[in-house]
């Protein structure tokens, strides 16, 4: 693998909720333009890690830096402004709005105009509005939801809602995308399409960190995999290395698979 510059650096992050240790001493890096997956059994601390990286949780120790900026103390919307955008496992859409309006909300970062311009309907604000609408249509087309554009997002299937969630995240123009279990609830063909989507997102130069349970999918798409168990990193490497790592096999299948 060629040496990449580091996009995100997670340094000795620990998260404790009272006496419960959700993450203990987690360190790894994600290179620019890389697809890295964070995997591990349920409760391993994957979503907690995401929450730390996006400012929803403050780590008890350690820090995360993104493109040289320390994220500690920044609010989620400030982190979004750095180009670090996440999707959610559940509740990834604005359910009562149409898919189209969802994307318009997602385009918030691109649509900032002055309040007075918007209220008076000045040409600048109108032009910005036209640009946003154009962009929203493009994104809908890109994830292939043209036929559902004017349906309430909450009425879509789970797979479709995932696509809306990703389109929403892309609307925010990320330089790095954090995907939280994007293919759970998708069938095989939807998953296959989603893998293609992830690759084309990466081809646009967007770094991707993925949390996912679907092992075949993770193995296909990832450049590198980080395995968490009980809040610790137990293995890190390319899919081939991870596939054969005894600690990983034990974490997933249990100690002495014969007894399980």
């Amino acid at each position: 693998m060629t040496a990449r510059s580091i996009a995100m650096n997670i340094e000795q992050v620990a998260v404790r909720f009272g006496g419960l240790v959700a993450i203990s001493d987690m360190s790894f890096t994600v290179g620019e333009g890389e697809i890295v997956s964070l995997i591990g059994p349920n409760g391993a601390g994957k979503t907690t890690a995401f929450n730390v990286m996006t400012g929803f949780l403050t780590p008890s120790a350690g820090q995360v830096t993104y493109q040289g900026t320390t994220l500690t103390g920044l609010k989620p919307h400030e982190i979004a402004d750095l180009g670090l955008i996440r999707t959610f496992q559940r509740t990834g859409v604005f359910p009562n709005d149409t898919v189209y309006d969802n994307l318009l909300i997602g385009l918030h970062r691109q649509g900032r105009v002055r309040l007075l311009d918007a209220i008076l309907g000045l040409p600048g604000a109108r032009a910005s509005e036209r640009r946003l609408r154009q962009r929203a249509s493009e994104l809908i087309e890109w994830v292939g939801l043209e036929r559902r554009a004017h349906d309430a997002a909450g009425s879509l299937s789970y797979g479709e809602q995932r696509l809306v969630g990703v389109a929403l995240a892309l609307a925010a123009e990320p330089s790095m995308l954090l995907l939280d279990e994007p293919v759970s609830g998708m069938n095989a063909s939807e998953t296959h399409r989603f893998v293609e989507l992830i690759r084309s997102i990466r081809d646009r130069g967007i770094t991707i960190l993925l949390v996912e349970h679907d092992m075949p999918m993770v193995m296909t798409v990832s450049d590198r995999i980080v395995v968490l168990n009980y809040g610790r990193i137990i293995a890190e490497g390319t899919p081939d290395v991870i596939r054969n790592d005894p600690a990983v096999i034990e974490a997933y299948l249990g100690h002495g698979a014969g007894r399980a």
Binding site: F94, A118, I119, L132, A172
Partner: protein, 348 residues
């Protein structure tokens, strides 16, 4: 189509004083109009950000007092032997100051309470209204306390080159209220359909997702609170200069409740909702007066509210829109303007 309906409605409203000569009815329409403006401002918060301001009348009352005091002048002693003397200014200056001061109060109340939100916002706004009422009641030197501020001048419009037009008649005041109401309506409509409105809607529907795409919660909600309070202040100023006497009772909790009822019955989160709800509950007393004693009327209001919400649970405008406007092909029956909590609980 939409534009035609708008023009028709505005024309109908503008024609009222031309055929309605009864001063009592015209008076009822003017005061109702003022409260409709207040209800519209409340709806901006309650309907479009989901925050319930149960002390909304405070901004209305502050607008009324600021406007009245600006145009009446005052002379009060401050701690340290300083006297604060203000000579009367034209009422139109009072109107502008009322908007400014009420907006500023909205900013501070918003800033204080939106970090925690929800029930805390409700509590902060109730307390704020009560504190302001007590100040108005007890700072007698400034506000005359329960003796009320009287002889508040009518609003006079400066006409360049001609002089001034003092709005004394009911007809003139009707048009003044109508113009202010239309401006407020347009302002709110533009706002909620803009980038800012989408940020508010995003926060109300899914706050976690909204902040993750870069929406600043505190800034968005504070902005809504400022604009809402400023509009309420404008309504208060109109009230002071039309009624021409105000006392601390203007801050009474029942006045906030009236506005909340107007918004809920008409349909929160819809632009026309507070107008329809406001007209119903503003004019109901007029309709009931010949047939019911005042005490019985309160019961009737409650009955009407329950009846409306029983038949049209999301408020008149959103419920009717859902029923009669066919959604686009395949889309669930969901009015685009209606974003209510009930809507969120029943995924279509």
């Amino acid at each position: 189509m939409r534009a035609a309906v708008t023009i028709l409605v505005v024309a109908a409203l503008a024609s009222v004083p031309l055929w309605l000569r009864d001063p009592y009815l015209l008076n009822a329409l003017i005061t109702t109009g003022i409260f409709v403006v207040g209800a519209m401002s409340l709806n901006l918060l309650l309907g479009f950000t989901g925050q319930l301001s149960l002390g909304h009348i405070a901004f209305f009352g502050i607008g009324a007092y600021v406007s009245a005091l600006t145009s009446l002048g005052f002379d009060v002693g401050l701690p340290g032997g300083v006297r604060l003397v203000h000579a009367p200014w034209p009422p139109i200056a009072g109107f502008l100051l009322a908007i400014l001061v009420a907006g500023l109060c909205g900013y501070f109340v918003g800033l204080l309470s939106f970090r925690v939100r929800g029930a805390y916002f409700v509590i902060v706004t109730i307390s704020f209204a009560e504190v302001v009422r007590l100040v108005a009641l007890n700072w007698v030197e400034l506000t005359q306390g329960p003796l009320a501020l009287t002889n508040i001048p009518s609003i006079a419009l400066p006409l360049p080159g001609i002089g001034e037009l003092t709005l004394r008649t009911k007809m003139q005041n009707y048009y003044l209220v109508l113009v202010v109401a239309l401006v407020a309506y347009l302002l709110i409509a533009r706002l909620v359909h803009s980038h800012f409105g989408r940020a508010m809607r995003g926060l109300m529907e899914n706050e976690t997702l909204a902040v993750s795409v870069g929406i600043d919660v505190t800034r968005t909600l504070t902005l809504a609170a400022v604009i809402s309070a400023a509009i309420a202040g404008a309504a208060g100023s109109l009230y002071a200069h039309y009624i021409r006497i105000i006392d601390p009772e203007v801050f009474a909790f029942i006045n906030t409740v009236t506005m909340v009822i107007m918004v809920i019955s008409g349909g929160k989160g819809s632009l026309a909702g507070p107008v329809i709800g406001g007209l119903i509950f503003g004019l109901l007393p007029v309709a009931l007066r010949p047939v019911m004693a005042p005490e019985a009327q309160w019961i009737a209001y409650g009955g009407v509210l329950i009846a409306i919400l029983f038949v049209l649970p999301r408020g008149i405008v959103p419920s009717l829109a859902q029923r009669f406007i066919r959604p686009r092909s395949g889309a669930p029956a969901l009015a685009p303007v209606a974003l209510t909590e009930t809507g969120a609980k029943e995924p279509a």
